[in-house]
Symmetry: C2
Subunit: 485 residues, 2 copies
């Protein structure tokens, strides 16, 4: 708990004119100025101050730009070039940094990034300023680009999601968020007065988009699995029958890896009287967009269904040195977004304009080396390892859940933030998760579990402290707290 | 001129509800389906079809996703791993690609990218998935980040633009566009009903922002130099006195490198009765934001003046393998934009969320190696070379203009699109430009000029063809067409 801080209500003039924002924006509290490096009950000493709220949830409140870690830029001495001192200093900093990256890469379980990649063959390209300006399909005058690789990658994904070569448009984005920003923007341009529907467990970028684009946004409840509650969805559709629907469908939610039932979403739209010319569906496939096609019995993401766009991250299942993503949409829709820009000799239907030309080459390289078969093997391995891990957690008396189509294992939040930090777990409320990616081996999972079991013995030794109840997060049957075990 | 194509008016339902868009969106024409690789009078055979308009300007119209260049992704054979055939194929593709990149890098004059950099010391980091999620100043649980470098770079820029360490907020963006999107969004959050003012020669991302954010946007005329016309600005301010003003100030326009007079803009706001709590200024310093501080007699970009944000690109004057940028704003403003996101253990006031962690290291490395002194030297060299080039053009009878604070030389558009393409010139209307960056030497400028002079002798030999008049682009005194020489 934090004492003596100014908690300011969000500027009321903003609330007054922005009624269309999602509800939680208006109730957001902002704290500033007096923030110190307080470490609360479960606080992390990193400038994030955690504040208790009525329902006991932890909330992050604004810090300021606290310089806990900063490598200052310093002016070189005049004779540095001669003495080589500067270069030596830089080499020292980088060597130390590389060591810490190696260590941090080894203890990494909480984020859905495949840290296992080998792009040595591509290091020769780092000398070039590769920039894919504007539209991937229309050359600009700038010659140092990688459009040929980009289009190859886009074709591959369009094929994966069953959209014809001459009917799709897309581009390589900077991250999953850009995919969502683009998909939802296309939806809004197709239906300018459409309402955005998204389950409450959607990625935060979806609600950010609603705010940026000044769209009305309706949050849908979720089942305890994390899936969208389609009954609630239909009920809310029926309340807003007069306006078109723009729907975000999660192909893997961030926290629980839950896959929304696309077919059921479409069915509910039909039942509520929305014909296909009155809705637009964006599929946020950040992680699972690339995994699901290789899972037997998984619902199919396909443009043969009435969907408008699919996005997937490139740095997640594929693995890439920097964030990137793939966005595929229907060519007919994207024209609503385009814009004549003679300067580039290119139209611009992207969000970003200038785009990282290295990312498409990384993706192209991986897709070529692994192929469908390679991805299938990796997906199977991840799902197998995730099941193994979940079973071992439960065997050890730790409440845990694993959705059927997912490699995200959700379990009781550890009581020690140092441990959370060490293994880089992502936490929300009373749960944490481990995302089993291709670089996460059985050995690593065992190491983690053994350490967790040892730590728990210490945390819960004298009975002052109890395992969290996670029934409200993942359902009673998955909870092993004192009450539900 | 293009014949037999479908020119469709922009969907009227969109126009109907989106009155606040900049005018040119509503008059935009879209062409699809029947587009072929037509090469018009000045067309480029790259899927861009150019269409004449009333005033004779060239307009790009939409093509479709024409696969002129595509490196297909193919499934590896089962025995590829054994035979090494796949690896050999990839190596071949990459070697060829590298050769073309080298060639294209050598013939590059039109885009403001410094292609001269040496980041060999950093290639060891390509093995890591470096991701700066969320806010640079608040650590997330993900450990493989480069926040310490990022904050060092941000501090450097905040100092350059005179904002105290504890009063600024910022982050490393993916490109100049993201900086503009962020600055304008902050402005809108501060003044939800504010009107966006931007000169008509502002970068297209400014108008894209207005459209994305559903902001009313007023375009201001420019002087022939490309600078904002402050009299027109004041007149338009007076028409909208009831609403706050969000102003985009160009610190270097895209085409002519014109620097808007920040002090005069502020003065006009005051004269029109806008007190400091009723306007927000975003400075788009994509290229010159880093050059201007080193130019004597240049107007100062400084947070001691009532500005809200400044953005600059990192891949332009600094030089970087991929697009990136720096965004600095006032801490007090950014709180309007923030959002609690427990999942990341971080608030999210960025546009993108996941962010390239390599870009800050590239920038940090360059700033440390060059220092203020290094940049000053490079800026002086660029301005000197630009003056040399402009003088040589005029000596050769070619109409040209160079703004005082700029290294962007604007001149008569070459008549041969092959030549334009070879030298990667950016063209608009009747003018082209060369941006003299640190990698552009006197020798390269001489080579270009000699070739241009030879080509012109051919183009204008039989008198069928005349140099373009560029008086309306850059003023009569800079035009050397038949009429004005």
């Amino acid at each position: 708990m934090v004492g003596s801080v100014d908690v300011l209500a969000h500027d009321s003039s903003i609330n007054g004119t922005m009624k269309q924002w999602p509800e939680d924006f208006s109730s957001m509290t902002i704290m500033r100025d007096h923030v110190t490096l307080t470490i609360g009950e479960n606080g992390i000493g990193n400038g994030v101050v955690q504040n208790g709220t009525e329902n006991g949830e932890r909330k992050i409140v604004l810090g300021r730009n606290i310089h806990t870690t900063c490598l200052e830029v310093t002016e070189p001495d005049i004779d540095d070039e001669v003495t080589g001192e500067r270069e030596a200093y830089m080499a020292g900093v980088l060597a130390k940094y590389k060591k810490s990256l190696t260590e941090r890469t080894n203890y990494h379980l909480g984020y859905p990034y495949n840290l296992n990649f080998d792009y040595d063959a591509l290091s020769q390209l780092q000398h070039f300023s590769i920039n894919n300006l504007g539209d991937p399909f229309i050359e600009s005058n700038y010659g140092v680009h990688s459009r040929q690789f980009e289009v190859g990658v886009l074709d591959w994904f369009a094929r994966l999601w069953e959209l014809e070569k001459d009917e799709y448009w897309g581009y390589i984005t900077n991250c999953g968020t850009e995919g969502n920003l683009h998909g939802i923007l296309v939806g809004r341009e197709v239906f300018p007065d459409g309402i955005l529907y998204a389950s409450q467990e959607s990625h935060y970028s979806v609600f950010k988009a609603a705010r940026m684009y000044r769209m009305e946004c309706v949050k849908i409840n979720t089942l305890w699995s994390g899936e969208i509650d389609c009954d609630d969805f239909k009920a809310k559709l029926l309340c807003h029958k007069d306006k078109p629907a723009i729907v975000n469908v999660n192909i893997g939610t961030t926290v629980k890896g839950a896959v929304d039932d696309l077919d059921l979403v479409i069915k509910k739209l039909e039942e509520a009287g929305f014909s296909q010319d009155r809705f637009y569906i964006h599929c946020d496939g950040a992680l699972f967009g690339l995994m699901l096609p290789f899972v037997k019995r998984a619902p199919k993401i396909s443009f043969k269904k009435p969907i408008g766009s699919v996005s997937v991250s490139g740095h997640k299942f594929v693995g890439c040195p920097m964030p990137c993503g793939v966005q595929i949409t229907r060519l007919e829709h994207v024209n609503a977004l385009s814009r004549n820009v003679e300067y580039l000799a290119s139209r611009d239907a992207t969000i970003m304009g200038s785009r990282n030309g290295h990312a498409p080459i990384f993706l192209w390289y991986s897709l070529n080396m692994k192929g469908y078969r390679g991805f299938q093997k990796e997906v199977q391995k991840c799902l197998r390892n995730a099941h193994y891990f979940k079973d071992r957690l439960v065997d050890a008396g730790i409440g845990a859940m694993l959705n059927e189509l997912s490699s995200t294992v959700v379990f009781e939040r550890p009581h020690d933030e140092g441990f959370v930090h060490k293994w880089q777990l992502a936490c929300q409320g009373n749960v944490a998760h481990v995302v089993v990616m291709p670089n996460v081996t059985i050995e690593k999972l065992d190491d983690f579990l053994n350490e967790l079991v040892q730590k728990r013995a210490v945390w819960f030794r004298d009975g002052n402290c109890q395992p969290y109840c996670i029934a409200s997060d993942v359902g009673q049957e998955n909870c092993l707290c004192a009450l539900h075990r």
